[in-house]
Amino acid sequence: MSGRSGFWTQALAIAKRDLLIESRGGEVFGVVLPFAAVAVFVVPLATDALATRLDQLAYPVYWLVGLLFGLQVALRQTGTETMIQRRTLALLGIDPAARFAGRSLAAALLMTGVMVAIAPLIVLFYDPRAIPAIGPSLLAVVGFAIGLSMLSTLAGDVTVGLRTRSSLAPLIVAPISVPLLIGASQTFESLILDRSTMAPALLLTVTVLSLAVTGVLTAPALEDATT
């Protein structure tokens, strides 16, 4: 038999678990993504689409939908661990930081998938005046997704088992996610306007790193608080 699993083995096992559950349950790509697509579609219906400069709404709507439905991805029902599942993992001696890392990794992958899938719809319905370079844009999207997934995982853990979790967790995440939103959206804008992306990219990177450190450091205390 092999020896005790290390941090990354545990984290990857947890991530694989979440992705396998998603592949079987399909809540993200079968429910959340279509809902996000509907949201992208109905925003112009709330304005006078002929008079409104929809092209100016394109990227703000993209990031807003990414934020709100990224939250849905992280806090989805099939991705939520029950208290007994959390206790079982705790009693297996799983490193709570590895659990945090694994859950965040899986959620980030799923969020990135949703945002990549939504992008063509933004181009189709909003006809933005310019589209940023794919490579750097994808990096911004991935950075945003990683940060949001870590923040949502933290919020989900802080509110686990509470009856108001479905509304409380988004309330906690939304305002704290603004640095991610500003960093990612301003990176896009800088790419379009051919400006330096250093400042917003730095903001995004610093926020992501801060969340990673916070998540890892608070994981043991959160496990104590919520098992």
């Binding site: 509470l162 409380l168 309330l171 906690i172 801060s210 916070t214 205390a221 608080a225």
Partner: protein, 235 residues
């Protein structure tokens, strides 16, 4: 005067003095007398930062020592911080209208990030309300309290990151850009609001102690609530 009245009395006196300083200070060259709102707005903002910093400190100390007083301090400070953040936003809006021509400008990063700070701590207080067990409440909210404090430096430094309508930092490395009487009024307001914060904290923590004492049970174990059934009652 009882010991309990000392701090409230001192803070009331300090506020009265700060008010006098504010009314007695020179008007601004461009804003005229509207600048006097600053002597409430800036101390409110300062108090909000202080309060949320204390919440983070109380949270950290609770996680370390597991002593309930730290959780009471964290909670009390967050409540006070939320009130004064709202006051800062309100006074900022009142100040903005005559000076900038608008109550609210979405292009202003500091206004927006201060509002976000308010929402973050409303979430903190909502989490506390949603958790009935006091130990679980302390554990969860102490972690959120540490995470949420990230908002405080973000608000303060946001002015440096974005060019906006908001007043730039007045206290800069190259010196203070204000008249002496205005500086005195501002510092007086800061000191008075800090004393007010201390007075409110002491009182709120005392109330929390009384609330906890009142919720103590009669010591009867939970299991005694269940008794043998009356099977004859099943018809």
């Amino acid at each position: 005067m009882t010991k309990r009245m000392v701090l409230p009395t001192l803070s009331a006196a300090a506020i009265a003095y700060a008010l006098w300083l504010a009314l007695d200070s020179s008007p601004d060259v461009f804003q005229g007398d509207f600048v006097r709102i600053m002597y409430v707005h800036v101390p409110s903002s300062w108090l909000a930062f202080l309060a949320f910093g204390v919440t983070a400190l109380g949270s950290a100390l609770w996680l370390w020592r597991k002593t309930i007083v730290w959780d009471r301090i964290a909670e009390a400070s967050a409540e006070i911080g939320v009130i004064f953040t709202a006051l800062a936003i309100l006074t900022g809006a009142i100040w903005g209208e005559p000076v900038w021509g608008t109550y609210w400008d979405w292009g202003d990063a500091r206004m927006a990030s201060t509002a976000l700070m308010l929402f973050v701590y409303l979430g903190y207080l909502a989490l506390r309300r949603a958790t009935p067990d006091p130990v679980a409440r302390a554990k969860r909210s102490s972690i959120l309290g540490l995470i949420a404090v990230v908002q405080v430096p973000l608000v303060y430094f946001s002015v440096s990151f974005w060019r906006t309508l908001h007043q730039g930092m007045t206290v800069r490395p190259d010196g203070i850009q204000m008249d002496g009487s205005m500086v005195a009024a501002l510092l007086g307001g800061l000191a008075a609001f800090t004393l007010l914060y201390l007075a409110l904290m002491v009182e709120r923590v005392r109330l929390a102690r009384i609330e906890d004492a009142n919720t103590l049970s009669d010591g009867v174990a939970a299991g005694t609530a269940i008794t043998a059934p009356d099977l004859d009652g099943i018809s």
